[in-house]
């Protein structure tokens, strides 16, 4: 019963995410594209929740949905005049894009179905019903041992700082 509900939720999410993705890349209004992206990101957060990565789902929603999309929307406000419509796509570009994406998807699907993933059956119990302990995550983030990530963490903080400064500097009015 639980599994069925899970499956239903998954398919619902998958439909929403994919349709929103398609809309995000095809809609003619840029602001709508950003909104569709927001739905895609929230749907992705749903996937994370289903996989029991609660912390990641929270990050996804706060940083992506809350931060990046808002940034997008502000940028759109800044750069577009009222009700600006994305010009119709050039035919040639559409054909090229379709060709590349369909061919790429075909290749990936071929590889996906041809390859047999070895799933450790002993661990299957863990899947879906074990929550990630926050303490473990915290210690892994600021530890220096094996499978611990202090250095990337710090580098990332420097990168973010650099981006803040760079962003200000680039966008500043001269």
């Amino acid at each position: 019963m639980d599994a069925t509900i899970n499956l239903i939720i998954f398919y619902a999410l998958a439909v929403v995410v994919l349709s929103m993705s398609v809309l995000a890349v095809t809609t003619k209004k840029i602001l709508r594209a950003a909104t569709y992206l927001l739905f895609v990101l929230i749907g992705t957060a749903g996937f994370y929740l289903m996989l029991n990565y609660h912390f990641l789902a929270a990050v996804q929603i706060t940083v992506y949905a809350g931060g990046v999309v808002v940034l997008f929307i502000f940028a759109i406000f800044l750069v577009s005049s009222k009700g600006e419509v994305i010009e119709p796509h050039a035919k040639r570009k559409v054909v090229l894009g379709l060709l590349a994406s369909v061919a790429g998807a075909a290749v990936v699907f071929f590889a996906l179905f041809k390859h047999q993933f070895v799933i450790d059956s002993a661990n299957t119990t863990m899947i879906g019903d074990q929550e990630m302990n926050m303490k473990v995550i915290g210690q892994a983030l600021i530890g220096t041992g094996k499978y611990q990530y202090l250095l990337p963490f710090e580098i990332l903080s420097v990168l973010l700082l650099a981006c803040i400064i760079g962003g200000i500097l680039i966008a500043r009015k001269r």
């Binding site: 570009k93 090229l96 894009g97 590349a100 994406s101 061919a103 790429g104 290749v107 990936v108 071929f110 590889a111 041809k114």
Partner: protein, 639 residues
């Protein structure tokens, strides 16, 4: 005697000073500065000559080679290095005196002669450069230093001949002089390399020491095409000397070089540069004598042939400077011949001594002749003797000094030419009778053509001179050098040269052989008499004689067509046969391949430049497509 360096430095500093700042000075200031500097150098060299010959030079009756300054400039191996220094021995000291004296006279003379010319300062700068290089040449301690200054002399001569660079003929003449001497210098350089390859030294003192035993030993047994290596090396070095000293067949540049200003001709093409070849052979005389006597014989015959050849041409020329040019060729050839017939040691070294003696006396009377000719040209504004006549009454000083110089070159006692020519004749007489008689004939011819020149200029028929171009005597700045040089021409013959100069540097005694001297005087008198009969009154006889000689006369007038022969060799043979194919190869094969490469690059880049569109989306597409292709390759083509 370290101060001898000053003799070199003074002209060099003058050159830098006048060359770099001369255009800011007034012409007269530049000229006076140049002349003063030259006077200083002259005084210094007189001091050195006095000190050397009557003081430190002679030790136990032998003249020493003194090297007051020598520093290493380039070191190749422990043995082989190029030095720069100063070598004082009898001939280099004598050359110092000759060069500075003539150069000073020319500097003085030019103050008036070149007055008002455009580029007066440049003229003095180059005169200084020339003096510097010539002085450096004669005091060179090693053959490579000599070569360096040798080329410097060539360069400064080039720029002085081409002084009137707006005149195409002057430009052509300067190029001709440079190319011909440069061509000869190629032989010189190869000779130097050959010699130093075997002896492992450039040093004159080492090369000539001990009867040139180093050269003899190191080249022993080595031969090429039937001639010993020593002979090849010395012959090639002589080729360089022949180029500078205008020996047949490399003499063709000298007559054309008369396009330069007349004082330059006096300095370079009469007294100093053209004797560099003689000096070179004299400098290496022991090497020639002991290791390659056959080359010495060759030098003697080339010298005698050139002397006769040039004397014959000089008879028919009408340009007074060209007559003097051929006379110079002839006289220098005599010096070469004297070296060629010389022996070594004691009285046998008479030829060597005579050669240097004649060089010494010739420098003064030939410079006098050129300066005199310059004085005449200055007055008449023409080089052609057919435009002159009866100038004696207009310019008596020039006439008298010119007459003295003619007597000197003709070999009439007691003028200087008589003594030096007599020594040459004696040396030749003891060596080879053919050479002796050839020299005698050329002496007769010399007397004839010199007096033909003299009578045609100063006597003969009166020409009509336009009123405002009435000939007049030159200013004192020009006549003073004439008088001074005339005095030298009268007196220098009285030096007893054998007391100072000999191949083994030991003085020996000479005396005038009156039989030979009598023959020489007789021949000279005959020449003068014939010239007097034909030209003194300006009769028609010379023209009739020219007609009766017919083709020979025309050939002589055209210098035996040697210029044409050289032109044919260079234009038709070398240019057509060698240069044209090489040019074709260069233009078509080498350039073609390069151009083809550039063409292919250009075409292919313009074909693919559309790909570099700057459209980032296209790039992304290509990237995705490439990734897909690679993925397909990885998936389906498992190796």
């Amino acid at each position: 005697m370290e101060y001898s360096l000053l003799i070199l430095i003074t002209p060099f500093v003058l050159f830098l000073l006048l060359g770099l700042t001369g255009h800011k000075m007034k012409p007269n200031v530049a000229g006076i500065i140049g002349t003063t500097g030259m006077a200083l150098a002259a005084i210094l060299s007189y001091t050195i000559a006095f000190q050397y010959f009557f003081g430190v030079g002679k030790v136990d009756g032998v003249f020493q080679q003194i090297i007051p300054i020598n520093f290493e400039w380039l070191r190749f191996t422990d043995n082989l290095h190029i030095d720069l220094g100063i070598l004082l021995d009898p001939i280099s000291v004598m050359m110092l005196v000759v060069i500075t004296t003539v150069s000073l006279m020319v500097h003085l003379y030019s103050l008036a002669y070149m007055h008002g010319e455009k580029g007066f300062q440049r003229y003095y700068a180059f005169l200084s450069l020339f003096s510097f290089s010539m002085l450096g040449l004669v005091v060179a301690t090693n053959i490579f230093q000599m070569y360096i200054f040798w080329e410097l002399v060539g360069v400064s001569s080039y720029s002085l001949i081409g002084f009137y660079y707006t005149k195409p003929s002057a430009v052509a003449a300067s190029k001709k002089a440079f190319i011909v001497t440069r061509f000869a210098d190629l032989g010189f350089l190869v000779g130097i390399l050959l010699l130093s390859f075997y002896t492992k030294t450039f040093d004159f003192a080492t090369l000539t020491a001990d009867n040139a035993s180093l050269v003899v030993n190191s080249t022993a047994g080595a031969s090429f095409l039937g001639l010993s290596v020593a002979a090849w090396a010395t012959a090639l070095i002589f080729m360089g000397g022949a180029g500078k000293s205008a020996m047949f067949p490399l003499h063709i540049w000298l007559p054309d070089a008369m396009e330069g200003p007349t004082p330059v001709s006096a300095l370079i093409h009469a007294a100093t540069m053209v004797v560099a070849g003689v000096y070179l052979v004299a400098r290496l005389f022991p090497v020639y004598f002991f290791s390659a006597p056959e080359v010495l014989t060759m030098i003697a015959y080339i010298g005698v042939f050139t002397a006769l050849f040039a004397a014959v041409i000089a008879i028919t020329q009408t340009d007074i400077k060209r007559v003097l040019a051929f006379s110079t060729i002839s006289q220098i050839a005599l010096m070469m011949a004297a070296l060629g017939v010389s022996g070594f040691g004691g009285h046998d070294g008479l030829g060597y001594m005579a050669s240097m003696f004649h060089l010494f006396t010739h420098a003064f009377f030939k410079a006098l002749l050129f300066l005199g000719a310059g004085s005449v040209i200055h007055a008449v504004h023409s080089n052609d003797m057919r435009d002159m006549g009866r100038l004696h009454k207009y310019m008596p000083i020039s006439s008298i000094t010119f007459f003295i110089a003619c007597l000197a070159i003709a070999g009439i006692p007691p003028f200087s030419g008589f003594f030096s020519k007599d020594e040459i004749l004696v040396a030749a007489f003891h060596h080879d009778k053919v050479i002796f008689y050839a020299i005698l004939v050329s002496a007769g011819l010399t007397a004839f053509y010199m007096f033909r020149l003299y009578f045609n200029i100063f006597w003969g028929k009166e020409k009509t001179y336009t009123e405002h171009h009435k000939p007049h005597e030159s200013p004192w700045l020009m006549t003073f050098p004439l008088v001074f040089l005339a005095i030298l021409s009268c007196t220098t013959g009285l030096f007893d040269f054998s007391e100072f100069i000999s191949p083994d540097k030991m003085p020996f005694a000479t005396h005038i052989d009156w039989t030979i001297a009598g023959m020489a005087i007789a021949v000279a008198v005959i020449g003068i008499t014939v010239a007097t009969i034909l030209y003194a009154k300006g009769s028609d006889k010379p023209a009739q004689m020219a007609k009766s000689l017919g083709r020979f006369y025309t050939a002589t007038l055209n210098k035996f067509y040697l210029d044409e022969v050289w032109m044919f060799i260079t234009q038709s043979v070398i240019f057509k046969m060698i240069c044209e194919p090489i040019r074709w190869f260069d233009r078509n094969v080498i350039d073609g391949s390069m151009n083809g490469l550039a063409w292919v690059t250009q075409k292919s880049s313009s074909a693919i430049k559309g790909l570099q569109s700057g459209q980032v989306q296209f790039y992304a597409w290509v990237f995705v497509a490439g990734s897909i292709v690679i993925a397909i390759l990885v998936l389906f083509c498992k190796v």
